[in-house]
């Protein structure tokens, strides 16, 4: 089985092939001495040339994979190049226009801008209260507030779109 894994701005090809009692694994066509074991769903023990790694994989709210490898943490996307399933992983590729997503469930307590306002990168757009803390959601880029989905007092779920900045 061959997968393209997009991680840290690079795309690598991981090939997994059964061989006798173990996996034969190659990276970008180069075989690696790896022994992989699933400890529990999403938790892997991987011995790589003797180095013992523990890797945890889970889905992030935006649909990408979050991969903890020891003390490191990566965002990844996996595509099976032989299938069309990869298509559903294309959502993150918006460029100029930025969606502002709720990073956690909570309640919108204050809007700091209105549609059409010019905003600077880092400027506060609205305030979400969650777990007794008021958290300012900031603009990731300089631009214009194109749409404001959120209303004051409205409960929001993690990953919900709050606004667009163009």
């Amino acid at each position: 089985m061959k997968y393209e894994v997009h991680m840290e701005g690079k795309t690598r090809v991981v090939e997994l092939e059964r061989h006798g009692a173990a996996w034969r694994i190659s990276l970008d066509g180069q075989p690696v001495a790896a022994d992989a074991l699933e400890i529990s769903p999403g938790v892997y023990s991987i011995l790589l040339g003797g180095r013992s790694h523990e890797v945890r994989v889970m889905i992030a709210p935006d649909g990408s994979l979050q991969v903890q490898s020891g003390l490191y943490e990566f965002a990844a996307k996996v595509v099976d190049p032989r299938s069309w399933r990869g298509r559903r992983h294309g959502v993150l590729e918006a460029e100029g226009r930025q969606q502002i997503l709720a990073p956690m469930p909570g309640k919108v307590v204050r809007l700091l801008v209105k549609v059409g306002d010019k905003v600077e990168a880092g400027q506060g757009l609205l305030v979400v209260e969650a777990m007794k803390m008021q958290n300012e959601i900031r603009s990731p880029k300089s631009g214009v507030v194109e749409r404001l989905q959120a209303k004051e007092g409205q409960p929001v779920n993690a990953g919900e779109v709050l606004a667009w900045v163009e």
Partner: protein
């Protein structure tokens, strides 16, 4: 001794108190909101009763509901923990009326010392130095702004009813005043039901050092030494330790005496903490008294060997503090980190959700005061404190090494935590030298963390795990790898799968 104690709290502190009860042979009674039915403090209690909907104002903050449970379950004492109603004199009064012993100071002592403004007045009367600023709550923002002008910026706005950094704002100049006032008072209203604020001068690079005191009902008041709590994010303590890296015998004696003097003046009984700011010249300024157990009490427990919760209960039951405790000498060094469900890479946003997998550290020198478990869903309704991780060692260096080792072992998926923040703090040269002040962490966080050394092996492992995860999602068997027949091609993968099946068979 008491027969049954109502624990008017939730999370790790409720669990902590249940454990003390169990060790003393006292039955523990938990309360829970609708959001907490599956919480650890319900599972570990002897009894547990529902007290209403998730919002704390409709459950954990309802004195009448708590007293109803105390009556129904036949409790003879109540422990408030910290937060919620722990410093609320009305709860202490309701307990007294119901004939239930409140495990804490009297309502009068709570008011005399616990209110920030009255505490400062009392401090001045008994020669404990204080920070310049207002003593009374300030009603109108205009008056507050005038006062700020007169003592000079920066100033700190603080909730009269507050604690834990909530309802607190630093104002650096006149232009920021209005916004700071608005945010602080609205946060104070939300958190404590009391929007009133006061303000004080903000010292330059002070340390936050606090003294733990214990006072029995027979007039004995002792100091158990200090805790250094200077590592704070937005006025919220995140790392605490004892002893303080700057402490001298002389300073410890002077601060301990000041704390004991203040407690005596306020006729204080039970455990309490006197907070001070300490400047570079070893001058200390009274900040406030916390008339309750502190989140960071385990740090004192680890170096003194005392169990503060059991002592609280014994004091409330009228026991005397043995004379010998006045000469307690701390041993070794202890440090606590507060594990929060929040995302340090994303502006410390809270990160509630289901804990999908978790590995907690154990072993020598490690204590975990835990409030959660794998499979539990961290609710959105409360403070995101999950657990406290405490390390003890012979020296500050050994303690830090153990804490780093424990943090390396800690792993969690499903929610984000601030573990990475502690890894960073515990490797900062200034922290390792013990050179912190109350704004040190906020300043550090202005600087992007140094880019980690690339570890190609960890990256490769991540790539492989991601592919294996996808393979498992795609389900079933890899196809198209001709060759081996089903029988001799059993991968370790499939072998494990088969072993699991066998394990499950009777």
């Amino acid at each position: 001794m008491f027969r049954k104690i109502l624990i008017a709290n939730r999370g790790e502190i409720a669990v902590r108190i249940e454990r003390a009860c169990r060790e003393m042979g006292i039955r523990s009674v938990a309360v829970f909101s609708d959001a907490d039915r599956a919480s650890l403090h319900v599972r570990l209690a002897d009894e547990a009763y529902p007290i209403g909907p998730a919002p704390s104002r409709e459950s954990y903050l309802c004195i009448d509901k708590l007293m109803e449970v105390a009556r129904r379950a036949g409790c003879d004492a109540l422990h408030p923990g910290y937060g919620f109603l722990a410093e609320n004199a009305a709860l202490a009064r309701a307990c007294a009326e119901a004939g239930v012993t409140f495990i804490g100071p009297s309502p009068e002592a709570m008011e005399a010392l616990g209110s920030k403004t009255e505490g400062r007045q009392l401090a001045r009367r008994c020669d404990v130095p204080t920070v310049p600023g207002a003593v009374d709550p300030i009603e109108r923002p205009e008056d507050a702004q005038l006062l700020a002008q007169s003592i000079g910026y920066p100033v700190l706005l603080k909730a009269v009813a507050g604690g834990g950094g909530k309802g607190m704002r630093l104002v650096s100049n006149a232009a920021e005043f209005a916004a700071g006032w608005r945010d602080a008072s609205s946060e104070a209203l939300n958190a404590f039901g009391d929007a009133r604020l006061y303000l004080e001068k903000y010292l330059v690079q002070p340390r936050h050092i606090e003294i733990q005191i214990l006072a029995d009902a027979h007039g004995r008041v002792v100091s158990l030494g200090e805790r250094e709590c200077s590592v704070q994010r937005r006025h919220q303590k995140v790392v605490e330790e004892a002893p303080s890296p700057i402490m001298t015998q002389e300073l410890r004696r002077k601060m301990g005496e000041a704390a004991v003097r203040l407690a005596r003046a306020g006729r204080y009984v039970n455990a309490g903490t006197v907070e001070f700011l300490v400047d570079a010249g070893h001058n200390f300024y009274f900040l406030e008294v916390n008339t309750r157990l502190q989140v960071e009490h385990p740090v004192t427990e680890q170096v003194t060997g005392l169990d503060l919760v059991k002592l609280q209960i014994a004091i409330a039951a009228g026991h005397r503090l043995p004379f010998a405790w006045e000469s307690i000498t701390p041993r070794g060094h202890a440090m606590e980190v507060r594990l929060y469900a929040e995302d340090p890479d994303n502006n410390f946003f809270p990160s509630p959700g289901k804990i999908l997998s978790r590995r907690t550290p154990t072993g020598p020198g490690i204590r975990l005061d835990d409030g959660v478990y794998q499979g539990w869903t961290v609710p959105t309704d409360y403070d995101p404190l999950l657990s406290k991780l405490i390390a003890w060692g012979n020296s500050r260096e050994e303690t830090i090494a153990r804490l780093r080792r424990a943090l390396d072992e800690f792993a969690i998926t499903g929610i984000k935590t601030n573990v990475g923040l502690f890894r960073r703090i515990l490797s900062e040269p200034a922290f390792l030298r013990g050179e912190m002040h109350t704004r040190w962490l906020d300043e550090l966080l202005q600087v992007r963390a140094a880019v980690r050394d690339d570890d190609p092996s960890a990256v490769q492992a991540a790539l492989i795990a991601a592919a294996l995860w996808q393979l498992a999602q795609d389900g079933a068997h890899p196809n198209g790898n001709g060759g081996a027949s089903p029988d001799d091609s059993s991968s370790r993968w499939k072998f494990e799968g088969r072993r699991e099946l066998l394990d499950r068979m009777p």
